[in-house]
């Protein structure tokens, strides 16, 4: 048993002291000298890599215990080892968004006197999916277990899986329809859910009776507990080998080294200064079933970011000027915002796998209170916070990339991530049982272009660097829908000298069910929620949904007539409308309608990434190859890139270089003839601004930003030489 300390809250005092030491010295836990590292750098490095190996193997083992295709197929899991104070020392690969979220959860328990009640004992299991305590969203359920050695708390082992079903108002994990916390699903708020290495029966029963698909959550819990025990035993064996004192110091030096490494890498790769960018997000729910009239049904968010790289190499991100939280499920908490920073940083700067909380200490986020990034109301819903997180951190990737271009590391410049349209489903499965699932093939969409080559096609997503769409057969086992198509979406990457990676579209036939609820989220409407870089265009990321109810597909199949396998390239008349009869649906905004049944056809597309560079510099030969393989259309080749394609004897496209050169010269002069001096455009546009002659949602966006942000008000007023407040009726 833990020998009763003088005060019951010894760990809390240690945490407070650790933070005080950091405040005073600027170094983690006051470690101004990496003594152990200096004494024996090789031992130091080996131990750090060994810790990471414990995490990687624990995660791989745990993935075999899980029943969830999200965890098994797509790796929606990460595990980590922490100091007693709750700072991450080492992590596995996987969903790197959680580098700091579990730290927040552990620290929350320590700060709230858990040592005293419900007490922290060897073999205890604590779980959490409350974003205001420390995670991104309800489906991100984390479990942590304390590590004791010779009667003393020496660390924590933690694991998090993204659950495919959370028991919310709409089926699946990201519960799109939730407008407050109370409909988001099953909450576990920093609760002790197990003792003596075993989950409590009453907790498992609570899961079984609150979830549409308990097998995912419950087996994921067992997988996480198994990985925590595995890491715990490995750490205890390591401490037997290197000694407790050495462990207590080296584990902290790893974090201080992480902090210094992050600052040094920023000084190595970037240029100090101020970087700015923005993107937007549109949400359209007017007339859609299930939305309560708690806020405006349709709205537009602006997401401006100002990044400062200081001369000591610290990266500061400022979200001043963005929008307030709302009665929707896309709010985010500081924990989620940390997560967005990490999932991006681990791809751009600390990719050698040794990322830990040290890197968190070398960055800073300014999250204005009351905005969606830092709601001042803990009852708001965060179920689909990725809808705003991904566009925001796509801006961050473009700002970082501009610093890489300035410093000369062009191979690191990457236009980055875009939003990740989720599809959640539930109802009656093909086996006649209730089911609920998030479809995670969205983990393999298109990436932004690089500064030296095209983006990745159907192989990237910002939130899980191990992008994988999973096998069709596995998905078909878990849902009452059959794939009748999975195809590249031509022109889905943003145009540029280098084009964004393309995404794909899935076409499904609903089968063996008369009650299938489909709900989509995390995709913008009416506006693109990404951008290009250095002349590249944004990817077209406001695609509508196309479906057919009661189609004649069985009849067509019987007569061996051609079916529809994708929506085609004519946005005004889809391939579904050409080939199938039935009630055709083309829907803007989140897809949420009456349940579907056997014979319906439904399509869902993911996003490509933004482009890089001037379209008139694109390589004609690569473009001919792209047209031949369905990544670009012939119209795009000539109309956007100015590339003239002939056909060889077999009908394959071949670039006509002379004709291209002539055509591009014409396009360049037409460009110059069309363009106007910016000053002239501003003078005319200023009249429109003064009259606030904008759509209601645009006016509301400005008014909200002005109300919340003095800086936005000043910048807007200065730029247009108007009084922003009076222009938009803000007191």
């Amino acid at each position: 048993m833990l020998d009763k300390p003088a005060s019951a809250l010894r760990i809390r005092e240690r945490l407070i002291e650790s933070e005080r030491l950091m405040e005073e010295t600027g170094c983690y836990d006051g470690i101004t000298e990496l003594e152990l590292r200096n004494q024996d750098p090789l031992k130091f490095e080996t131990l750090h890599t060994k810790l990471r190996a414990y995490c990687v193997s624990a995660r791989e083992m745990a993935r075999r215990i899980s029943a969830s295709p999200g965890v098994r197929e797509v790796g929606e899991m990460v595990v980590a080892i922490y100091t007693p104070e709750g700072d991450a020392i080492a992590l596995s690969n996987g969903i790197m968004v959680h580098v700091h979220t579990m730290s927040r959860f552990i620290k929350w328990m320590i700060r709230n006197g858990y040592e005293e009640n419900p007490q922290i004992r060897d073999g205890d299991i604590f779980a959490n999916n409350d974003a205001f305590i420390g995670t991104v969203q309800v489906p991100d359920v984390m479990d942590v277990m304390p590590i004791f050695h010779s009667g003393r708390l020496v660390g924590w082992a933690g694991a998090v899986c993204h659950e495919l079903e959370a028991g919310g108002i709409t089926p699946g994990g990201d519960v799109a329809l939730a407008q407050e916390r109370f409909t988001e699903g099953l909450f576990v708020c920093a609760e002790k859910v197990g003792e003596n290495d075993e989950l409590r029966r009453d907790y498992v029963i609570r899961c079984e009776r609150n979830l549409r698909m308990p097998i995912y959550w419950v087996l994921d819990e067992k997988a996480k507990v198994a990985s925590c025990i595995d890491m715990r035993e490995s750490v205890k064996a390591l401490i037997d080998e290197i000694g407790l004192d050495y462990w207590m110091q080296v584990s902290k030096e790893f974090i201080e080294e992480g902090r210094r490494a992050q600052l040094a890498r920023t000084r190595q790769l970037t240029v100090p200064g101020i970087y700015r960018g923005h993107t937007f997000y549109g949400h359209v729910t007017a007339g859609k079933p299930g939305y309560q009239p708690l806020g405006d049904p349709d709205w537009l968010y602006n997401i401006p970011i100002e990044m400062e790289i200081t001369s000591d190499g610290k990266i500061k991100m400022d979200f001043e000027g963005t929008q307030p939280w709302g009665y929707h499920s896309m709010n985010c908490t500081p924990a989620g915002m940390d997560g967005g920073m990490f999932v991006t940083l681990t791809q751009h700067m600390n990719f050698e796998g040794l990322v830990n909380d040290g890197a968190w200490m070398a960055t800073e986020l300014k999250l204005p209170k009351g905005t969606w990034t830092n709601p001042d109301n803990e009852m708001v819903a965060t179920a689909t916070s990725w809808a705003l997180l991904l566009p925001a951190y796509g801006v961050f990737q473009r700002l970082l990339s501009r610093s890489f271009i300035a410093r000369g590391f062009v191979e690191e410049a990457f236009v980055g991530q875009v939003n990740s349209p989720m599809i959640e489903m539930g109802g009656q499965s093909q086996y006649g049982t209730p089911f609920g699932m998030a479809h995670f093939e969205c983990a393999a969409a298109g990436s932004g272009a690089l500064a030296i080559k095209d983006g990745l096609d159907t192989a990237y997503v910002g939130w899980n660097p191990e992008s994988d769409m999973g096998n069709i057969e596995i998905w078909e086992q878990n849902m009452p829908m059959l794939y009748i198509g999975r195809s590249i979406v031509p022109n889905s990457g943003g145009a540029g000298k280098y084009r964004g990676g393309c995404s794909f579209l899935s076409t499904w036939l609903v089968s063996k069910t008369d009650h299938l609820r489909l709900v989509t989220s995390e995709h913008s409407s009416r506006v693109f929620d990404n951008g290009g870089l250095c002349g590249g265009y944004p990817a077209p990321t406001c695609q509508k949904h196309r479906a057919v109810r009661g189609s004649n597909i069985f009849e067509l199949a019987e007569n061996r007539a051609p079916l529809a396998h994708h929506t085609g390239t004519n946005p005004y008349r889809s391939e579904l409308e050409v080939r199938l009869e039935g009630k055709h649906v083309t829907l803007e905004g989140p897809y949420i309608t009456a349940p579907h049944k056997t014979g319906d056809v439904f399509t869902h597309s993911y996003n490509g990434g933004g482009g890089y560079g001037d379209v008139l510099e694109r390589d004609p030969v690569k473009t001919a190859w792209d047209v031949e393989n369905g990544f670009l259309t012939k119209e795009a080749a000539v109309g956007i890139f100015g590339i003239v394609l002939d056909e060889d004897e077999e009908g394959f496209p071949v670039a006509n270089l002379e004709a291209t050169e002539r055509h591009r010269a014409e396009m360049r002069s037409r460009r110059l003839a069309r363009a106007k001096p910016v000053s002239e455009w501003m003078a005319k546009e200023r009249e429109r601004v003064k009259a606030a002659d904008f759509a209601p949602e645009v006016k509301k966006m400005y008014a909200s930003a002005i109300k919340l942000s003095p800086r936005f008000t000043k910048d807007f007023s200065t730029f247009w030489d108007v009084d922003a407040k009076s222009t938009f009726g803000v007191e």
Partner: protein, 168 residues
């Protein structure tokens, strides 16, 4: 420590370096002598002699032009004082109708031009498309980058710049 020849860096920048070699550069530890070789490659590419101080886009450079520091297009057109937003001296095409948006997005669902317009910032002399913004109508033009030029050269490169009296 890795280090690469000017020729390799020139091919890397031009996107013509074979992928296996590019891949190795991406995976290796970074070459700390990259910056001045990179600038020398770009200096060799542009047709003018003003010394480049800092690239800020694919074809956009801050350079020392006499005793001024200006933002300059690769064709030589100057956008004035590097501390000011070069876009304000550029030419612009605004795509704020279905027809204009269709030219760039022939096969996709389009944004609602009441909510978003595409702004193309172009060199008024050579017509190079330097930056694209996708913004709500009325949204102020973004000042993308304000580098701490002196701090960068002094503290990070260890080669302080001569004090320049005039900017614009």
């Amino acid at each position: 420590m890795s280090s690469y020849s000017k020729e390799v860096i020139a091919d890397l920048v031009a996107g013509t370096l074979p992928w296996p070699q590019t891949r190795r550069i991406m995976s290796a530890y970074k070459d700390d002598d990259r910056f001045f070789k990179y600038v020398a490659v770009l200096q060799g590419r542009v047709g003018w002699s003003d010394p480049i101080l800092l690239p800020v886009g694919d074809h956009l450079f801050i350079c020392q032009s006499g005793d001024e520091r200006v933002t300059k297009c690769e064709c030589g057109h100057s956008f004035g004082d590097y501390r000011k937003n070069w876009k304000l001296k550029a030419a612009i095409i605004v795509r704020d109708s279905e027809e204009l948006l269709r030219e760039i997005y022939p096969n996709s669902d389009l944004p609602d031009s009441d909510w978003m317009e595409i702004r193309e910032f172009i060199c008024p002399e050579c017509g190079t498309l330097h930056e694209v913004e996708a913004a709500a109508p009325g949204y102020p033009i973004v000042h993308d980058f304000e580098p701490d030029l002196e701090g960068f050269y002094r503290d990070w490169l260890g080669k302080p710049l001569e004090p320049s009296n005039k900017g614009g």
